[in-house]
Symmetry: C2
């Protein structure tokens, strides 16, 4: 068995059985090893941010890592932005990056690059295999690192000769490194804050936003009168009818400051002291009021669900009744097509247990609050602010949960970064209904320009923010990539298109001209 085969076998022994790929010549032996192991599902992406973004979506929904297969430094570079997002989401991912044979690197062939240097800014763990016999052990360590605590990005660099030379065999999985429970002191301090004067906010992210965490947070809210919110961007939020509903901290800075202004205490559950997404002249970086005290129940790498359980018990809140969202399907919208009518249609037509990937940006922000009464569903966001993850995220979520419908709410400008993901959706027959918010602009940038104090954008600004010349024809693009599509420009046609897309077992794209 060669190094590549020991790698694949070690991954499989560790329970990693999905590999999103975009291979090249230096990965040929790894591909050959994948060939001999049909229990490893290989999914091709035509651009690497599709590969890494899909691995992110998979990890968020499967709660275990997928592997990626990337071609040397530039291939890793092409997937860097969505690894940035994945790292901020704390998604477990194992990147396998091919490299020249160890002895070939010094010759500085065209593809030679500082792969470790490229990997480090987006990886929590980086290692380069030195020889074939060590590949299995390093692979087991990579899986352990990716799954450690609340999840992280591990990057394993595989020189071609360490893949093709003879190795010993696979390595057994290493023990799990679990997230620690928070300290009793942290629980006591949080309880004291909840019991003191002034309104308190429990600000959560990570696993605390799954059903059990939300339920306990809801109990604490009922018992103490505290409010509960999610941070601005979250890897995965369980919501809809029958669940304790939480708002998110708003993105627009003035709204965020206003929304947090009443609080005298903020208790962090995996979240960080809330800060503005961007800095703006004459506005603060921190969003909480200056006299607000910030307490940490659990750090991002700690077990927030356990923290909530401990706090719940400490407060004797287990028996309190959380206020749960009720199923309130709105009437189907009519007339003008816009974020509100799209939200109404999505809310009314969404099947139970759907997964929503939200890269709706300007238009999308208005969908979230309007879908609180929809059937229970998971909501996935861009966590690192790097747009171009929505379509790949939908790929990964659909691969992880083939029995669940994925609804991909997608801004047009953002979709263009990784439009290639539609092809993977078609190839794999993934059950994804994509809604493109076709406003033919980087609309957010007009708003942001105003926010930074620049009035009256001129011609260059219009040229850089508007993507209407030529207009993107999303129906043609989707068809070019093998995905059925239609364009609609009023609510009635949108309702019909969404009904049709949701009934379709494979991918379907709706260009919503808003």
């Amino acid at each position: 068995m060669n190094g590549a085969e020991s790698l694949v076998k070690t991954l499989l022994l560790s329970g990693v059985n999905v590999c999103f790929t975009n291979p090249g010549t230096s990965e040929m032996h790894f591909v050959a090893a994948l060939d001999r192991h049909v229990d490893m599902r290989c999914i091709l992406g035509l651009q690497e941010n599709v590969v890494t973004g899909a691995a992110d979506g998979y990890g968020r929904m499967a709660d275990k890592p997928a592997a990626t297969l990337l071609h040397t430094g530039p291939g890793l570079g092409n997937g860097l932005a969505n690894l940035h997002n994945a790292r901020k989401a704390r998604t477990p991912i194992i990147n396998v990056v091919g490299e020249h044979a160890t002895y070939h690197i010094k010759h500085d062939a065209p593809l030679t690059a500082d792969i470790e240097g490229i990997a480090k800014p987006v990886s929590d763990w980086v290692r380069t295999a030195s020889d074939a016999k060590s590949v299995a052990a390093i692979t087991a360590a990579a899986v352990q690192a990716a799954r450690a605590r609340t999840g992280s990005v591990a990057t394993l660099i595989l020189p071609a000769d360490t893949a093709w030379e003879e190795a010993d065999g696979p390595a057994k999985p290493l023990p799990a490194i679990r997230a620690q429970a928070p300290s009793d002191a942290a629980v006591e301090a949080s309880a004291a804050a909840l019991g003191s004067d002034g309104p308190a906010l429990i600000l959560m992210t990570g696993r605390a936003l799954r059903e059990d965490g939300l339920k306990m947070a809801g109990c604490i809210a009922t018992a103490t009168g505290a409010e509960v919110m999610a941070q601005m961007s979250n890897a995965r939020l369980e919501r809809g009818a029958g669940r304790f509903a939480v708002e998110k901290v708003p993105y627009p800075i003035d709204q965020a400051i206003e929304r947090l202004s009443p609080f005298r205490h903020i208790i962090l559950v995996g979240a960080k002291d809330p800060v503005a997404f961007f800095a703006y002249p004459d506005k603060p970086s921190r969003l909480a009021p200056e006299d607000c005290q910030v307490h940490t129940l659990s750090k991002p790498t700690e077990d927030g669900v356990k923290g909530l359980e401990m706090l719940c018990e400490y407060l004797g809140a287990e028996k309190a009744e959380p206020r749960l969202a009720v199923h309130e399907p709105p009437p189907l919208p009519t007339g003008v097509l816009g974020p509100e009518s799209i939200a109404a249609a999505v809310s009314a037509l969404m099947p139970e247990n759907a997964i929503v990937t939200d890269e709706g940006i300007t238009a999308g922000r208005r969908i979230f609050p309007l879908t609180v009464g929809a059937p229970p569903h998971s909501w996935l966001q861009v966590t690192g602010g790097s747009i171009g993850i929505g379509l790949p995220l939908a790929v990964g979520a659909a691969v992880a949960c083939p029995e669940r419908k994925v609804i991909s709410l997608q801004a047009d400008g953002s979709a263009m970064y990784t439009v290639q993901a539609l092809w993977t959706q078609a190839r794999e027959g993934l059950d994804v209904t994509t809604v493109i918010f076709s406003n033919r602009a980087y609309e957010c940038l007009f708003i942001e320009m105003e926010n930074v104090g620049v009035d009256n954008p001129g011609q260059s600004a219009h040229d850089m923010f508007e993507i209407d010349r030529p207009p993107l024809d999303w129906v043609a693009l989707a068809r070019g990539l093998g995905v059925q599509a239609e364009a609609v420009d009023d609510a009635e046609h949108f309702n019909a298109a969404l009904t049709c897309g949701l009934a379709e077992p494979g991918p379907y794209l709706i260009e919503a001209q808003i």
Copy 2:
């Protein structure tokens, strides 16, 4: 005047007047400054490898740097692969990368990333502005660095507050750092090698492949009997009728070793000791025979044209007659469509002074030798081995040379990495005729799999190398991005389509189903 405006004015004073952009919120003041300077041409790309690849194409043809505008670490990451290519091409480029305001970075907002860390593997020069008043001086230093010697990639990181705070004014251009002439000793050693026993090869790249360098190399060849070749991948090669024609070192390793086997001396002009593109089991990394002596006339950072001039003079070869390629338009092809018939049609129909961007990969390799008798033209290649540069390269070349026709020879798999470039071609009305070699596979990978000793690729390998399920519909994709297109599957229809595309003053795409 704020920092951003001092940056734009400094660029303009330094002769930099094209900016390829994909901006975000942190770059709003830079966008506003661009707005006030209409003499800076701003060109939007919908993905950052379009932006950086276009800057590469521009720099190769304009012989001066364009600026790029990228949005924080992930935006830079998205453009990394084509910066890798640009750096290997020694193309002058100035990246301006937006960053959070200096005081905001410590808050670790979602987009916070190690931008310098991401930039270093692909940049020869990296600086972060510390305050608005230093922006102008740093910008002048960035231009100097980009233009230094034979060209390099300079990355300037611009925190938002250094853009919006008050600055003093623009900085004057700094003195040029010119490439040095090689030493007399290097010239003498090269001359001695040419005069000694055994066949000699002059191996060139960089500026030596322009008309004057080629002419002198041709004189030396006639005078000494040496052969002259270009290295495997070159930023720009002037060729066609009336020019001294040079072969390139072949990509397939066995062909390359065979081709170099007769030589006892290799004289490097900007090139490096030739090495295999990839390592293969039981094959050497170096391509030259073991008993071949390698001499350096000029290093990659030295003035190779001056070196050839010195060598020519030393040898008294100035009066020798170089053998020049003659115009030999082949008859228009008929019948089956393949690389040979495409080459014949391109050769026959190419207008004088065209620019060919070659990312044809497997199919494309056969076009180069068959176009030696075409009218004079420039030939641009992928220099760093990272595919996905062809369509952006064509954008940049067309912007630099609006009076010249660009013919973009493009493999289908490679085109998919940066298909967004077609939209920029449409938006700017660029005079680019794209030929997609639609073989619906990463064909090179099947060949490479055999090369590394893996026979009989299995299902996973087929799944990862074939992109025919679903087939990419290039006509639909092009139309979706605003570009006229047609598909052809025989030589006669290809001739007609190419005639039509070349007659069109704007972009046109031909899907050549081979």
